[in-house]
């Protein structure tokens, strides 16, 4: 029996033993894998970034027709009512924001949240926070618009953002590569650093 086959046998035995005892073997992402995820992260961030430009401040007019559609086609009963009494309060037209009292500040909130997601994912800056916020925004889009387009359009966006929330994709080609080890070092003595370190 050769050395390599003996090594293979030992590896197989170790795997079998860990399966028998129920111990999960830890996985380590290779440099190529994490860099691949970093590239995916940048493109997903860019996806969010591009969508800022058709609903620009100061009036955020591009978003209005989508809020109207969401209020009419939502898949959750009552969500349309919430939209009509928040974003669409006082609105008198289906096509313009005439008479709307709360639309601009709330739309500004949506736009800012999308900007934060875009910058967080593109620059790998507290990537998991950006990915979680992106997931929330994407779920909201799914709830409101899923039936008006291909059903998986927003579902895929939810899944993409969730995937990036589970992987530390900002630790390559991103600022999290600098932040993460420092936050983890401070986490032993500082509870806030321990909490924040999860997002990097």
């Amino acid at each position: 029996m050769s050395v390599s086959s003996s090594a293979n046998d030992r590896k197989q035995m170790a795997v079998t033993r860990s399966e028998e005892t129920g111990i999960t073997t830890p996985l380590t992402l290779s440099e190529r894998s994490i860099t691949g995820f970093a590239l995916i992260r940048i493109f997903v961030g860019y996806l969010w970034f591009q969508q800022l430009f058709w609903k620009m401040p100061p009036d955020f007019a591009g978003l209005y027709s989508y809020i109207i559609r969401e209020s009419q086609h939502t898949i959750i009963p009552g969500y349309g009512y919430i939209l009509q009494h928040t974003f669409l309060t006082g609105c008198t037209s289906l096509y313009t924001t005439t008479g709307c009292t709360l639309y601009v500040p709330l739309a500004a909130g949506v736009w800012t949240a999308e900007l934060i997601v875009a910058l967080s994912l593109m620059f790998g800056l507290f990537t998991r926070f950006g990915a979680i916020l992106g997931s929330v925004l994407a779920v909201q889009l799914y709830v409101g618009l899923a039936y008006t387009e291909w059903i998986w359009t927003y579902g895929m966006l939810v899944l993409l953002c969730l995937a990036l929330a589970t992987i530390p994709a900002g630790r390559r080609l991103g600022f999290d590569q600098w932040f993460a080890p420092r936050l983890q070092a401070a986490a032993h003595s500082n509870p806030l650093a321990r909490f924040v370190s999860w997002f990097a």
Partner: protein
């Protein structure tokens, strides 16, 4: 020479990323890529060729920026914070040259005329290019094939 070669690779890869980001635009794919040719006064009438030309020119420009980055860093081994920071500075310089000055030369008389939309469309992307270049340069320091002279 090693640091220059490392900078060249980092610049080409960051340039490729920038070109790909410019390709996946809303509307016609790569519709903004001919602008890269216009920076140098080049105009190609065929729109497809013009986009391909802009795509490859952007990669070449990335490579040149990477060489400059490598020369500035010199032979020292840089830390991740130095790589990210100097990458951001490079991105800022790139933005000033190719967005701010190009905008002045092509459209307006003053940099103050730069609209918010134009600023938002260019500034973060150019900083991203610089940051990625710096980050790749840092990663390549660990590659024996590139560090060997």
């Amino acid at each position: 020479m090693t640091h220059i070669r490392r900078g060249l690779w980092a610049g080409l890869l960051a340039g490729l990323l920038l070109a790909m980001l410019n390709f996946v635009t809303d509307g016609t794919p790569g519709r903004t890529l001919p602008d890269v040719l216009h920076w140098f006064g080049i105009t190609i009438t065929d729109p497809t060729l013009s986009r391909f030309g802009g795509f490859f020119l952007l990669i070449i420009l990335g490579g040149i920026a990477g060489i400059i980055f490598g020369i500035v860093q010199g032979k020292r081994i840089i830390t991740i914070s130095q790589a990210l920071l100097s990458g951001l500075v490079l991105g800022l310089v790139w933005w000033v040259i190719f967005s701010l000055l190009a905008n002045i030369m092509n459209h307006s008389s003053s940099p103050l005329n730069l609209q918010f939309g134009m600023f938002l469309a260019t500034f973060p992307i150019d900083l991203l290019f610089g940051m990625v270049l710096g980050s790749i340069y840092y990663q390549l320091q660990d590659q024996p094939s590139l560090t060997a002279t």
